[in-house]
């Protein structure tokens, strides 16, 4: 190979004055960076992914990892990444796959949106004293209510209400399948959402029997591969989500490599052991918006209209039109997944270049649905790069009913966003099926961490609302008056329907 190697991504070193030679780094590194030879611990930096497992387990803080230890000649156009991708493709002639979400350094709109607070003319509300109503109902809402009088003179609701999901906080955990992540990760999150009173997605991979106790807090997914989908699965979910697209890779399907299909994954997905699980790009029974209506109704009919059905789409240029079409189908909620959404693996060119930011998608979907007079027909769930309670509050102010978090929940379980999810070697026991690695994640402890995170964000959301004089989540929803744009251009402010700071 005339190309030779590219420089290692990371340089690992051990401070021997600090090191007590306990060998925890060797035990913990599943990528094989460390090995013992005689009385020395040797390091192979090239294998390092900066997952920081060794650093976090080292009792003496003796390990140091630096990124990009060797510089290329700096160049504003021919970045390191551009050069390395070309070298990779010159070697392979193939499509480059990568893990996690969009890794480009593009401006994040959330960071240029500022929230409001009360001062002299209107008082803020103290959440310690006043109740903060964060309860959120997802699903169709009637445009009007009809009542009738009973013989005894009581008033009774005459309108038939559509089934809704009741959330104690507008934070849910998005769909990450068993197969992509471990059962212990799913169990940790399932225990957390049950305790908090919210929901999580099962992902396209069926529902493992150990999750049945949490099924009332799980949303089952029907994606183009229909893996693990049968009538029992549909009946177990609290709601059903049809996945049309995903923010990390809009327009294309998914592919679980055979290496990750062990016995348990095989049973749950109902596919043979070790076989590739290929989800086609489109659902082959949906070639039009009418077909989508048919799939939604088939799911409702199969479950006797007892469950809300969500439709998840990737945020792309036509997101508002798609969402309006979905609102006019029988769907109960539309999930929009922005271009920063995570994934186990996606073609890099899609991950980094296809789709639009979730902030713009929420605003344009909410606006279009209001314009068409169907906003009450459907709930909006936003996902893809929600990092904090501030992003959550801004999403709701832009028009979302609730959010899905994915990467944030994984970080609460230990993930350090190293982006090597596809290798089945995750040293944190999250994106792996290797039993010795999976056992590193204790579902009981994991559940506490996930619920702590959601609890913390929920408290912060209440404080932010109180500070803005709002005591109910409904009053924040779509309330763009409580947002101001900072250093955003006029076109962007118009799309977001937000005034500039100072106005």
């Amino acid at each position: 190979m005339t190309l030779g190697s590219v420089p290692p991504k990371f340089k690992v070193s051990i401070d021997h004055d600090q090191c007590m030679d306990c060998g925890r780094c060797i035990e913990n590194c599943s990528y094989g960076v460390y090995r013992r030879e005689g009385d020395k611990i040797l390091i192979e930096s090239r294998k390092c992914t900066a997952c920081l497992r060794c650093v976090s387990m080292c009792p003496r803080d003796a390990i140091n990892i630096t990124e990009k230890p060797i510089d290329y000649r700096s160049h504003p156009v021919w970045t390191r990444e551009a050069r390395e991708d070309i070298i990779n493709q010159a070697r392979s002639g193939k499509i480059i796959l990568s893990g996690m979400g969009n890794a480009r350094d593009l401006p994040i709109i959330y960071d240029n949106l500022l929230l409001d607070a009360c001062q002299v003319t209107t008082p803020s509300i103290d959440p310690l004293r006043e109740p903060m109503e964060l309860r959120t109902y997802l699903g169709k809402k009637p445009s009007k209510l009809k009542f009738k009088k009973t013989e005894s003179g009581d008033v009774e609701l005459d309108t038939q209400l559509a089934p809704n999901l009741k959330l104690n906080t507008p934070i849910m955990i998005g769909h990450m399948s068993f197969g992509a992540i471990s059962l212990n990760s799913q169990l940790s999150m399932a225990k957390a959402v049950k305790e908090i009173g919210t929901y999580m997605g099962a992902g396209e991979g069926g529902l493992h029997k150990n999750l049945y106790p949490y099924q009332d807090n799980m949303i089952v997914q029907v994606a183009s591969g229909r893996f693990g989908v049968n009538i029992d699965y549909l009946e177990r979910g609290a709601a059903i989500e049809v996945k049309i697209g995903q923010g990390a890779k809009p327009g294309i399907g998914g592919h679980l490599p055979g290496e990750k299909v062990n016995e348990e994954v095989s049973k749950t997905r109902m596919i043979p052991l070790g076989s590739d699980a290929i989800s086609p790009a489109p659902h082959h029974d949906i070639y039009s918006i009418e077909d989508l209506v048919q799939l939604i109704r088939s799911l409702k009919e199969a479950t006797e209209w007892k469950k809300p059905v969500f439709v998840k789409i990737a945020a792309v240029h036509s997101v508002a039109r798609s969402a309006a079409g979905i609102a006019r189908s029988s769907a109960d909620a539309v999930v929009i997944d922005g271009f920063r959404g995570g994934t186990g693996a996606a073609p890099k060119v899609f991950r980094d270049h296809v789709g639009i930011p979730i902030e713009t998608a929420i605003a344009s979907v909410d606006q279009e649905l209001r314009k068409q007079g169907v906003r009450n027909e459907i709930s909006i769930i936003a996902s893809g790069g929600i990092r904090s309670s501030a992003d959550l509050a801004k999403s709701i102010a832009l028009g979302a009913d609730a959010v899905y978090i994915g990467t944030a929940a994984l970080i609460s379980l230990g993930c350090r966003v190293c982006g090597n999810c596809y290798r089945n070697l995750c040293p944190w026991g999250i994106a792996t099926q290797r039993p010795d690695l999976v056992s590193r994640l204790d579902p009981e402890a994991g559940a506490v961490q996930v619920s702590n995170l959601i609890h913390g964000w929920t408290l912060e959301l209440g404080e932010l609302m109180g500070g803005a004089g709002i005591n109910s989540i409904e009053s924040l929803r779509g309330n763009r008056d409580r947002l101001r744009g900072y250093m955003l251009d006029e076109g962007m402010l118009n799309i977001l329907d937000v005034l500039p700071a100072g106005a």
Binding site: R226, N230, P257, P272, D285
Partner: protein
Amino acid sequence: MKTVRIDAKGMHYTPLNQKIRAAVADGAEEIILDNVLGQRFIGDGLRGNVRIIINGVPGGDLGMFMSGPTCIVNGNAEHAPGNTMDSGMLIIHGSAGDAVAHSMRGGKVFVKNNIGYRGGIHMKQYEEEVRPVLVVGGTAHSFLGEYMAGGIVLVLGIGKEKAMTDIGIGSGIHGGEIIIRGEVDDYLLGLGARKFKFTESDLERIAPIIKTFCEQFGYDPTEFLDTNYTRIGPASSRPFASKYVWE
């Protein structure tokens, strides 16, 4: 045998399915639906061993997510009968639309005449003993058995000079097999599909399927047991493995 008769004339599919479910819960072993005209989702998610006789033309997604029952259609069927079906049987005394047996994991779909595009698409198989089967008496349009991951599709080409004349057979197939009576031109095969030798043991394997099919529609199986077939399967069980490289 406990038989229930339902007149479906002018009835929406939801009350129709409610009546079917109620009849099954009440122990009906046979349900006869008269005047069916375009009602979708008949037998959707239905469990049990009931036999449903459909007189008329059912709408799309007949027997979707179905687990156990048998539906006999005295007429044609629309889009995607047997969609994501788990087990049971659909016997269609006529033709059917696109995406027949889409993602079917188990059970049998027998169509007397022809089917539309994407028949048997993404059919899959989990356990050896529950093998999904789609048999088409006539012919099928393009993309037959596309993305197929398991099971068997059999096309008999009854009354046709050639059983298959449409392109894209088995494109992206990574499991299962497509068996077509007579010769199949190479250019009809999709990307990732290839022909395999059809052997005596293959014929033995499909003979029970042919016999069951013939029983349903009153054909003599002899001529189908003494003829040539083309067997099409995946060129690789991992058709996309060579397309990608990791970052």
